[in-house]
C-alpha cells in the first residue's frame, strides 16, 4: 500500500508546489486585507451612497462562488478588451477580491461591537475622530476580529486549491498530476492533505498565541 521510494521522490516536488500555494495565498491575503479595510470603511461610513457601494461589492463577491470568479477573471475579461493576465496575477486578484469581501464583514463586525458609549465619552473628553480611531477603535477591533481573520486566512489557503483552473500549478494540481502518472491515489492524496495541515496548523497556533498576547496586554 505504501511506497517508500515513491514517497521520497514526491516529497520535494510537493514541497516546491507548497511554495506556490503559500506565495499565492500570502499575496492574496495582503491585497485582500487592504480591500477589506477599504470596503469596511465604505460600509461604516455615514454617507448612504458609500454604504450602498460597499454593500454592492460584498453582495457580488460573497454571492458568486470563488471558482466562477476565477474563471471570469481569467477567461472572460480578455474577451472584453482587458489585457491578458498571467495565471499568478489572475489567481492573486481572484482570491484577493473574494476574501476582501469576507474580511470587510469581519472588520465591520469588530468595529460595530465596540460599545458606542466609549466613543461618546471620548468625544466629550475632546478626542478627535482620528485619535478615537487610533487609540480606542483599532486596538479593540484588532482583538475582536483576530479569531475571524485567522479563520479567513486558513480558509483562503484552502480556497487556493482552486487556482489550477487559471493555469497555476499549486499543491493540489501537482498532487493530482502525480497520482495521474503513478496511480498511488491514496498515498499521494494523503500527502496532499498532510501538506495543507502543515501550513494551516502553525497558522492556527500563531493565531492562538497572538490572541493570548493581546488578552494579556489589553484591559
Amino acid at each position: 500500500m505504501f511506497d517508500g521510494p515513491l514517497f521520497l521522490q514526491n516529497f520535494p516536488l510537493l514541497l516546491s508546489a507548497l511554495l506556490t500555494t503559500v506565495e499565492v495565498s500570502a499575496a492574496a491575503l495582503f491585497l485582500g486585507f487592504f480591500i477589506g479595510v477599504l470596503v469596511a470603511s465604505l460600509r461604516l461610513s455615514p454617507t448612504p451612497a458609500l454604504k450602498r457601494l460597499g454593500g454592492a461589492y460584498i453582495f457580488v463577491f460573497r454571492g458568486i462562488p470563488l471558482l466562477v470568479q476565477l474563471l471570469f477573471i481569467y477567461y472572460f475579461l480578455p474577451r472584453i478588451g482587458l489585457p491578458n493576465v498571467s495565471p499568478m496575477a489572475a489567481a492573486v486578484i481572484g482570491l484577493a477580491l473574494c476574501c476582501g469581501a469576507y474580511i470587510a464583514e469581519i472588520l465591520r463586525g469588530g468595529f460595530m461591537a465596540i460599545p458606542h458609549g466609549q466613543l461618546e465619552a471620548a468625544g466629550l473628553l475632546g478626542l478627535s475622530n482620528a485619535q478615537m480611531l487610533v487609540r480606542i477603535r483599532v486596538p479593540q477591533a484588532v482583538r475582536l476580529t483576530l479569531p475571524g481573520l485567522i479563520n479567513e486566512m486558513i480558509l483562503l489557503i484552502k480556497a487556493s486549491s482552486l487556482v489550477s483552473v487559471v493555469g497555476l500549478a499549486d499543491l493540489t494540481r501537482t498532487a493530482q498530476n502525480m497520482a495521474a502518472s503513478d496511480y498511488m491515489f491514496v498515498q499521494d492524496y494523503l500527502m496532499l492533505a498532510a501538506f495543507y495541515c502543515l501550513i494551516n496548523m502553525p497558522l492556527a497556533w500563531c493565531g492562538g498565541h497572538l490572541e493570548r498576547r493581546l488578552k494579556e496586554q489589553g484591559a
Binding site: 474563471l71 481569467y74 477567461y75 483552473v165 493555469g167 493530482q176 498530476n177 495521474a180 502518472s181 496511480y183
Partner: protein
C-alpha cells in the same frame, strides 16, 4: 527648469524619439496580426494541455513526458521555435484557447464534426476509437455489451462520454453513466469497484491497463466509431498560417517515419492516420 541650448536640444530629441516610437507602435497595431509571424518573432509556441492524459501527456517525477512533448519538440525544430506547455484542467483548456491564452491546444483531442465547426484541427496523429476498460478480475465484463444495466464512468465534457452515451442507448437495460472531472478519478473508482468500466480512447486505456495489469484490462473490441486524435488551434484567419506550418511539419514526419516511431514508442503500435482533410465519423 532652465532650458539652455543643450538641454533643449536633448528635450527636442527625446520628444521626437517618443513621437516616432509611438507612431511605429500604432502602425504595428494596425497591421494585420499573423499568428505564425508572431510565434516566430517571439521564438516560442505556447501550447495549452492537460498533463493528466497518459500516454500523450503526463508528469513523471516532476517532468513532462509523453507523445505530446516529443512530437511538439520535433515540430518546434521544423519551425525554429521553442515550445512552452501550460497545464490546465481539461474543462479550462478549450476556453483558454478561445481567450488567446495560448496558440494551440495539445491534448490531443478527438476530431468530431461539432469541434471541426468551431476549431481548426491539425492533421491527426493517432487513432482514438473509444473502448472500455474494466476490472482485471471482473469476469462479468467480457465484451462492451456487458455493461448493460451497470454503472460506467467517463470524463466530463469529453467526446468519449458522448460516444458512451450513444452506445448505452442501444443496450437493453439502462446504463448509469457517472461523469468525472478527470479520468484518473474514474480509474480510481473502477479500482474501488464503484463502477464496472471506464470509457476512454484506446491508446489511453491500453496504456493504463498495461501499467496496472493487476487492476485493469481492456475490453475488446472497441465499441466506438473509428475516430482520430489531433491537435488544434483557433478557427480564424490569423491562425491559418500557423496551422498550415505545423501541418507541413507533421507531413514531413509522416514521410520520414518520425511520427510512426513516436506512435510505436508511446502508443504501442504504428497507426494509420489520414494525411489530408477528412470527414469525421461523428
Amino acid at each position: 527648469m532652465q532650458l539652455d541650448s543643450r538641454s533643449s536640444k536633448k528635450l527636442g530629441k527625446t520628444v521626437s524619439g517618443l513621437c516616432l516610437s509611438l507612431t511605429l507602435m500604432a502602425a504595428s497595431l494596425a497591421a494585420h496580426a499573423d499568428q505564425l509571424a508572431d510565434v516566430k518573432k517571439a521564438g516560442v509556441l505556447d501550447v495549452g494541455t492537460e498533463m493528466q492524459f497518459a500516454p500523450f501527456d503526463f508528469i513523471e517525477a516532476g517532468k513532462q513526458k509523453g507523445l505530446n512533448a516529443e512530437l511538439f519538440e520535433e515540430m518546434g525544430k521544423e519551425l525554429g521555435v521553442k515550445i512552452k506547455f501550460q497545464d490546465l484542467p481539461w474543462p479550462s483548456v478549450l476556453p483558454g484557447l478561445e481567450a488567446k491564452k495560448f496558440d494551440v491546444v495539445a491534448g490531443p483531442i478527438i476530431v468530431t464534426q461539432a469541434r471541426k465547426d468551431r476549431y481548426h484541427f491539425m492533421l491527426p496523429i493517432a487513432e482514438a476509437t473509444v473502448s472500455l476498460m474494466a476490472g482485471a478480475k471482473d469476469d462479468s465484463i467480457q465484451k462492451p455489451e456487458d455493461i448493460s444495466g451497470k454503472t460506467v464512468g467517463a470524463g466530463k465534457g469529453s467526446a468519449q462520454l458522448e460516444e458512451l452515451k450513444a452506445f448505452a442507448e442501444k443496450l437493453p437495460a439502462k446504463v448509469t453513466i457517472k461523469e468525472y472531472v478527470d479520468n484518473n478519478q474514474a480509474y480510481a473508482d473502477l479500482a474501488a469497484k464503484r463502477i464496472v468500466a471506464v470509457a476512454n480512447s484506446l491508446p489511453n486505456i491500453s496504456y493504463v491497463a498495461a501499467q496496472k495489469s493487476n487492476l485493469y484490462k481492456v475490453v475488446q473490441p472497441p465499441f466506438g466509431k473509428k475516430s482520430y486524435f489531433a491537435f488544434l488551434g483557433r478557427k480564424d484567419a490569423d491562425s491559418d498560417s500557423l496551422i498550415a506550418a505545423l501541418d507541413g511539419a507533421l507531413l514531413k514526419m509522416h514521410q520520414d517515419g518520425r511520427l510512426a516511431a513516436l506512435q510505436k514508442k508511446w502508443l504501442g503500435a504504428e497507426m494509420d492516420v489520414p494525411t489530408a482533410d477528412f470527414t469525421p465519423s461523428w
